[in-house]
């Protein structure tokens, strides 16, 4: 498997103007098609971030508002206080809510940080449902894009800004690939090809496979950015 840690951390080479001002809070977008496992990934990632000394909170953008937030709350009961997981209504425009006009996500983040100033990691889950979704650089420091094997091994070849622009591409549900006629080797190699060698990670959020790699990637990305701005 390709080691994401060996890949370049910030392939966009964003102009300094495009970077969000540093405030000590790592903001991470989690995008991907409906059903690819974004919520399960966040549920598996939060305990790993806490193990690594982080204090996370979660903002979910769902078509019907609180459904995802309620699911995350149930799953993370005892791990993350319910008040640290909020849902943002997107007015039927989940893409707009994280890309073109992230006003309400920023407002939700501001309110969370006012209430919980110790939070140092914010995860934004997007309800955006196609391959063109990206996150505004004014909202997040980096974003993951989550595909899953059930969508078919053709998905990386369809490219789309979500797949090609994200800082880390996740191929989830690797365990069911043989049952959904997905050639995982093809899917992975195509993903590397369309991303010009930028990082790709294979995961199974239910067993935790690959999740540690994601957690380490996020923290090393932050460290790299801090070094770059120092």
């Amino acid at each position: 498997m390709h080691d994401p840690m060996q890949a370049r951390h910030h392939h966009h080479d964003h102009d300094e103007l495009m970077r969000r001002p540093k405030d000590g809070v790592l903001r991470v977008g989690v995008a991907g098609p409906v059903g690819s496992g974004k919520t399960a990934l966040i549920e598996a990632l939060v305990p790993l971030l806490i193990e690594r000394g982080r204090t996370p909170a979660v903002i979910t953008n769902d078509i019907f508002t609180t459904e995802d937030a309620a699911h995350v709350r149930r799953t993370l009961a005892g791990i993350l206080e319910a008040d640290r997981i909020v849902g943002v209504e997107t007015g039927a425009c989940p893409h707009t809510a994280v890309r073109d006009d992230p006003t309400m996500n920023q407002a939700a983040a501001d309110e969370l940080l006012e209430r919980f100033p110790e939070v140092d990691t914010l995860l934004f889950e997007s309800g955006g449902d196609n391959l063109t979704l990206t996150f505004s650089p004014a909202l997040v420091d980096l974003f993951l894009f989550v595909l899953d094997t059930a969508e078919g091994d053709k998905m990386p070849r369809k490219r789309g800004p979500g797949i090609t622009e994200c800082e880390l591409l996740v191929i989830n549900k690797v365990d069911i690939a043989p049952y959904v006629r997905c050639d995982l080797a093809v899917m992975e190699s195509d993903a590397h090809r369309v991303r010009d060698g930028r990082p790709v990670v294979l995961t199974n959020s239910l067993t935790g496979e690959g999740l540690g790699t994601i957690a380490d990637f996020l923290l090393s990305h932050e460290a790299a950015q801090e070094t770059a701005s120092a």
Binding site: F64, T65, E89, A92, D101, T103, M104, A107
Partner: protein
């Protein structure tokens, strides 16, 4: 030719009203989703609902507060700005409407400081930091428009147009209209917007506050709805 509105000020009004301006408005249905969930609005009654909300809700509340705050900023009367905002916030009965006004207002304040950076915006930010104001959107909009030199009448018109455009946009996503009829509805609201602007400009501080009991009931139900697309 006598041109009462300087082009630079007009351009700021257009910029703030444009749907591409990140106002957060597309997440709001301004009460429409509550009516839709209760099956209390149809495509044919949609224009009447928009007109009623303009005349009896947005006009006496947000538009009036905007007009009064704009005049207060222009007169450098910041106590009056604070008083207008306190009254406006107190008259918003529903949680969603209060929350939406403050969320969109604070973000507008932050962005407008970066985009326009006028002295009134800085003064208002100082009041916000001191806790004297909450950042209600209509009052922040008044500060921004006044700072940009857009006259009060045009400023109120811009904000009412933005409301109406956002309302019909929400109607489209709720399948209460289509992209062509939406434009007919929007243009059909123009005389009501003009009437609402005139009424807002005539009101005084004690007049701030809408009276729309059915819309308040719908908003209360919307808060508790199991499923929502919109934040209001």
């Amino acid at each position: 030719m006598n041109d009462p509105i300087p082009i630079p000020a007009l351009l700021t009004g257009l910029q703030l009203t444009d749907s591409a301006f990140p106002s957060g408005y597309y997440t709001l249905s301004h009460g429409l989703e509550g009516f839709q969930q209760a099956r209390a609005v149809t495509p044919s009654s949609l224009p009447a609902l928009l007109h009623d909300l303009l005349r009896h809700s947005v006009g006496p509340a947000d538009a009036t507060a905007l007009a009064l705050a704009h005049r207060a900023v222009t007169a450098d009367d910041w106590d009056e700005v604070v008083a207008v905002e306190q009254r406006l916030h107190a008259t918003k009965l529903g949680r969603e409407a209060r929350q939406a006004a403050v969320r969109t207002g604070r973000q507008l304040l932050d962005l407008a400081d970066e985009v326009y950076g006028t002295a009134p915006i800085e003064r208002y930010r100082g009041l916000y930091r001191d806790g004297a104001v909450r950042g209600c959107q209509p009052v922040v909009a008044a500060v921004v428009h006044a700072g940009n030199g857009l006259p009060v009448r045009q400023a109120v018109t811009c904000e009412l147009f933005a409301f109406a455009a956002s309302f019909v946009g929400a109607a489209m996503r709720l399948r209460l209209t289509d992209h062509r009829r939406a434009q007919v509805v929007l243009h059909g609201a123009a005389p009501v917007i003009e009437e609402t602007v005139d009424a807002a400009l005539d009101r005084e501080l004690p007049d701030i506050g809408g009276c729309v009991p059915v819309a308040d009931v719908m908003a209360g139900r919307h808060e508790r709805a199991e499923a929502r697309l919109f934040a209001s």
